[in-house]
Symmetry: C2
Subunit: 439 residues, 2 copies
């Protein structure tokens, strides 16, 4: 029986857990309820661990100039001319690399088989092979790792390999970066809890849709792929089964943080020419219609629409919605004046109100609902919006955009043009199994 099969067997009941301690060979039987923190879980001791590493900025710069006919010396000079940043880039790169080595050595000391995979090489085969996957980077790397995991039993851990530069919301507490053996020990002893992060799924329908995903991080568009998908779409439309296009198509992605819908965030390539033909309209407004929880359709115009999970409520959505003290203070001042009050507003009060407001934007990763947020709504004669933000279990969006897309976790994008309809929901099957380790 594979290790995963074994854990599945063990977890059938919430109340009884059995641990097979691999190193000692002894079988422990423990009774306990799943949510008792100290003995919450059976020990976690994967045999095969994939470590997926981020691309550092140093590596990015190297790659960027690779094709510009500059020699390595030219490159060094060019970067050096920019002042301290070259040395800084190298320093961050080395810190990351050392932290990755620390993780790998710790895993190997525990007798685990380790496969280190750069983000560009991470694929479904890695996911199939591994008993557990460790993301060694920042939150971006965690999002990438999660993007190829569709089995809610597959455990994923994040380790922040540059805590001074990276927030690491999705990673283990920062202290484990340099003390990874401690983390492994706690995992082995069951001194942790599984955290089941809810994710978003997407159905796409409507005429002229193109379900071909574009990987923004791979940074390559396949001309053939675009052409082909486009022709197939048209041919299907012309055939007698044209109506089949209107069946909702479940996209092969899950949003761990959020889905973002907006105008002109994709590139368009001239199919008959190799000259790149790019449409980049930085702040052309996005037009769409939205229906929340099967409510009435509303026409809207904005900088875009974000639908986030509890996990994502601390990410981009948080930054879209949060208020700064300057704005809060001004609102309270105007409010007091309008209400005829003469109460002085201390900086402390303004801080408290700001904090309380911003806290209300965040909710738990395990909650089975989403928050939709309209970024920079544009209100005028034609367009209105009743709510700029709210909870939802189901969001439907109909595109009225020229050249827009839906972006999942900032990493994968889908065309979402005039006529397409997206249905955004959650399903328990899509949960991501991560680790909650006390600090």
């Amino acid at each position: 029986m594979t290790y995963r099969g074994f854990i599945n067997f063990l977890c059938l009941g919430n109340r009884a857990v059995t641990i097979l301690n691999r190193s000692s060979g002894r079988l422990h039987i423990q009774m306990g309820i799943r949510n008792i923190a100290s003995q919450a879980e059976s020990g976690f001791n994967p045999a095969k661990v994939a470590v997926v590493t981020k691309m550092t900025r140093y590596e990015f710069e190297q790659q960027r100039y690779r094709f510009s006919e500059l020699s390595e010396e030219d490159l060094k000079q060019l970067l050096a001319l920019k002042g301290s940043s070259y040395l800084g880039l190298l320093e961050r790169h080395n810190i990351h690399t050392r932290n990755v080595e620390h993780i790998v050595e710790s895993l190997q000391k525990e007798g685990m088989e380790v496969r280190v995979v750069k983000r560009g090489q991470y694929d479904e085969e890695t996911v199939r092979w591994a008993d557990a996957i460790i993301s060694a980077g920042g939150d971006g790397t965690m999002l990438l790792v999660a993007s190829k995991v569709f089995n809610k039993d597959q455990p994923v851990l994040g380790v922040n390999t540059d805590p001074e530069r990276s927030e690491g919301h999705l990673c283990l507490p920062v202290r484990y970066t340099h003390a990874f053996p401690e983390a492994l020990q706690k995992l082995r002893r069951g001194q942790f809890r599984w955290q089941w992060r809810q994710r978003i799924r997407l159905h796409l329908e409507g005429t002229g849709i193109n379900p071909t995903p574009v990987d923004l991080h791979e940074q390559q568009l396949s001309l053939e792929q675009h052409n082909q998908a486009h022709r197939i779409t048209l041919m299907e439309a012309q055939s007698s089964e044209a109506c089949s296009l209107s069946k909702p198509y479940l996209l092969p992605v899950r949003g761990l943080n959020e889905i973002f819908i907006g105008e002109s965030l994709s590139s368009r390539v001239k199919y008959k020419s190799f000259k790149p033909h790019l449409t980049l309209s930085l702040h052309r407004a996005s037009y769409y219609e939205i229906s929340v929880d099967d409510g009435p359709w509303e026409k809207q115009k904005s900088s875009g629409l974000s639908i986030c999970t509890g996990t994502g409520s601390k990410a981009w959505s948080y930054n879209i919605n949060k208020l700064v003290e300057q704005a809060v203070g001004e609102v309270l001042r105007i409010g007091n004046a309008q209400m005829g009050l003469d109460i002085p507003l201390s900086q402390e009060l303004i801080e408290k109100v700001t904090d309380e407001y911003n806290k209300s934007l965040v909710f738990g990763p395990e909650e089975g609902r989403m928050i939709f947020s309209i970024r920079e709504p544009i209100v005028n004669r034609v367009f209105s919006s009743s709510r700029q933000r709210g909870f939802a279990n189901r969001v439907c969006v109909r595109s009225r955009c020229w050249d827009a897309c839906m972006v999942v976790d900032g990493g994968t994008s889908f065309e979402f043009n005039d006529g397409a309809i997206a249905t955004i929901t959650m399903n328990e099957e899509d949960q991501l199994r991560t680790v909650l380790l006390e600090n």
Copy 2:
């Protein structure tokens, strides 16, 4: 003497204006102070008028599919499959076209020589030829027209050719769209005022800068241009005059609305390959340092930085900064609770406070100062920002970005990567001469 020379001659004094009425041949001499509304200006009667027209969405869709091997019939079918939008596109296109014809006929009836120029053909030669330039489209077309005008004596007018769809902040009042002869009459009689819209200028310095502008609307990147500019930059850096790169370079653009600085809004092309190599990171944070009015440098991380004029304070900057009633209501509620007040908050009060707050974001187009706004500031251990928004006469920004750019009026972009420093100021020479016509 050219017409423009004549007007220059006449305007030497603010207090005396002379009108030569072209149609009657009579010379009127009028005394008046420049800011008396009814006889505010000498009559405006240009001999040569360029009419620059926008590209409608219908034309955009036609162009988009031109190279995808679809026949015109295929195209019609594909668009028709999307439902009503095809007919809608055509309708808007026809409305725009009719309004352009109305403008052209009205000008020709007045004996003016008219040159109709599509936005793609509009160039410096058009600007040199014309006594006055009319933008026939929406605000976007006005921005384009303004982008090639550097002489503050060159008059520019905007006519909104689709008032039902376009806001037209920069255009004449909507009624003149269908009654353009009335506008011409008022102009002829001097029943208008010149509005001198202040604009922003940019100096760029620092090592490794690339002063080659990328025209986002032309939607084409010249591979040769990129290569060449890049090599020249490096060669200059290597030469003994390397220090000359650090002298501030005045960019050949002026911002009528705003300058926006942000991460990964440009595309990057692999020089040695024709496969497009695109870096699109929709919400990778922008890192930079900012100094306002020669104040201390502050490290910041955000979704980007906007510096706008009075004109632009009603545009993108407004949408970045404005608050919705939902947020204002919540802040007032929390504030009241924190202050221990038990005052009910009516919807009317919330509306008033919201309106007053949002009004405070707008200032006059003729004011010689700018507003800087930080879009979605990210505050954490490393980064802080004292103010999210404020007035400034001078803003310096040092890029710490991977792959960012500075975008002027949403139309022209410049690389702005690690090491580059932008100095953003205003100069009276850069004013744009537009028309203020009463409704």
